[in-house]
């Protein structure tokens, strides 16, 4: 029996002791190797908590989290992460920012000095893939928000993590830049095929990018619906104008509306 790459089984997460806030409860999901999964849900439903559990930053209060068939019991260095805030280091150039993980991940930091040229070539290639050719020597403040976010994406990918965790990476960008970056992210994914978990509250983003969209309930969060997205790749803005796309987004919206109502009742 082939096991999923990421397995979350009946997980609960409570903050601040026994009386604390219950962020997740009875949350289960599976992500296959190389799959692109989007998680959507009403705000405050524990999406970001889920991310931190999978990457081993926080331990779960209850249940099991398995990545690559191994229990997660601490930070995993096979994860690349990007957040809403690009969090670039202002004292480093774009290239140096992208190469930061190589100075940290044990397998790479030992080889970085002797094989610097090879790693730099890799970083430059990544920058080219996201459309930042020629910006390697610039400082972060010289780049627009969208370009900073592309850099952040490169930083998440440079050590070739098999698992990419994205926490609302594009939600601080304007609509046009965001749609550009959907295409960029799709390119990257099709070129490298990492397993991706994308947390977002933009339903069109989820439908455009993901193979599968998971809908979370209001807090305490668990998965209440799941939709497969079958549009062929590469998807484009034209895809988003298809009636099937529109109805998928409408369905997702209905799930979330129901989830929010549930929150008011309880």
């Amino acid at each position: 029996m082939s096991k999923a790459f990421v397995q979350i089984d009946n997980v609960a997460m409570r903050y601040g002791g026994v009386e604390g806030t219950l962020a997740l409860e009875g949350c289960s999901l599976e992500v296959q190797q190389g799959e692109f999964v989007a998680v959507v849900g009403p705000s405050g439903c524990g999406k970001s908590t889920l991310m931190r559990l999978v990457s081993g930053l926080w331990p779960a209060t209850d249940g099991n989290v398995l990545v690559g068939n191994k229990e997660v019991d601490g930070p995993l260095d096979l994860v690349g992460m990007a957040f809403q805030n690009p969090t670039l280091l202002p004292w480093r150039t774009i290239l140096e920012n992208v190469m930061l993980p190589l100075e940290i991940v044990p397998a790479h930091r030992r080889r970085l000095r002797s094989e610097r040229a090879m790693y730099e070539a890799k970083a430059l290639e990544l920058l080219k893939l996201v459309g930042l050719e020629g910006f390697a020597g610039k400082q972060p403040y010289q780049l627009s928000g969208g370009m900073q976010q592309r850099t952040s994406l490169c930083r998440a990918l440079i050590h070739e993590p098999p698992l990419l965790m994205l926490d609302e990476p594009f939600s601080a960008l304007d609509v046009f830049t965001r749609e550009d970056l959907w295409a960029v992210l799709q390119n990257v994914w099709m070129a490298r095929k990492p397993t991706v978990i994308l947390v977002t509250h933009d339903l069109r983003e989820a439908a455009y990018l993901a193979d599968r969209v998971l809908v979370m309930s209001a807090r305490p969060g668990r998965i209440i619906a799941e939709r497969r997205v079958e549009f062929p790749r590469p998807r484009s803005m034209e895809t988003t104008f298809l009636p099937e796309f529109t109805s998928l987004v409408a369905d997702l919206r209905a799930y979330i509306a129901a989830a929010r109502k549930g929150e008011e009742v309880s």
Binding site: P75, V79, T87, L89, E103, I104, V105, H159, M165
Partner: protein, 276 residues
Amino acid sequence: MSTRAQARLEAMAAAARRQRRLQAWLPWMVLIGAFLLWEMLVEVFGISTFILPAPTDVWAAAVRWWKPLMDDSLVTLGTTLAGFALAVVGGLLLGIAIGSSTLVYKGLYPLLIAFNSIPKVAVVPVLIVWFGIGIWPAIITAFLISFFPIVVNVATGIATVEPELRDVLRALGARPVDIIRKVGLPRAMPYFFASLKVAITVAFVGAIIAESVAPNAGIGRLMMVASSRFDVPLVFAGLIVTGLMGIMLYWIAEFIERRTIGWAMRGQEQQLSTGG
């Protein structure tokens, strides 16, 4: 481009140049103006040299006593810099410890605040009992008074690393020491340099306090001796020399700051050049 637009652009550039020139000269003009006003007031109201010497009297005293003035200033400069150097090393180490560990923070911070509230002039007699009269009480007073701002600023810079960035690094398997080296310390540098500019000036205060309480050598002793001889112009000369040394050290700190952390300052220059 139309000639009108060109003329307007040139006029704006010229205005910006004038603005910059004015800004460069302004401190000097204010300084000279203040001295002129001072001289005039002394003259007009016939204030005796014993109460407030005129700038010309101060200058005359400085010229007459230039040798002891210079010797004592150099002693004070030396003790100040020695105390300051100790404060930089001690402040950085303690700041890193406090900024990166909640336990150290909780344990040490109240103590530090209590210690910082003690007037250093009260500590000098103790230092004299311990180290005798000499340069050490001055060096240690300069150190004690100037290391606190460094500790607080370095600790703040390290403790305020964005949680997301911490998560990114931790998810890569970064140890706490990696996070401090790669992120905490570099981002604490602007705080550190800001504190250096405060620390260098208060280090002076510390050294001179010690020299005044335990007159052995230095500009503090010179002023004590001068005032006990009612040589008020020389006291003022000492004060002005101290101020000059303070400005000089401040400039040096600022120069190093510009060289090392240009990334944190870029906004200011743009503002200045367009702000005209």
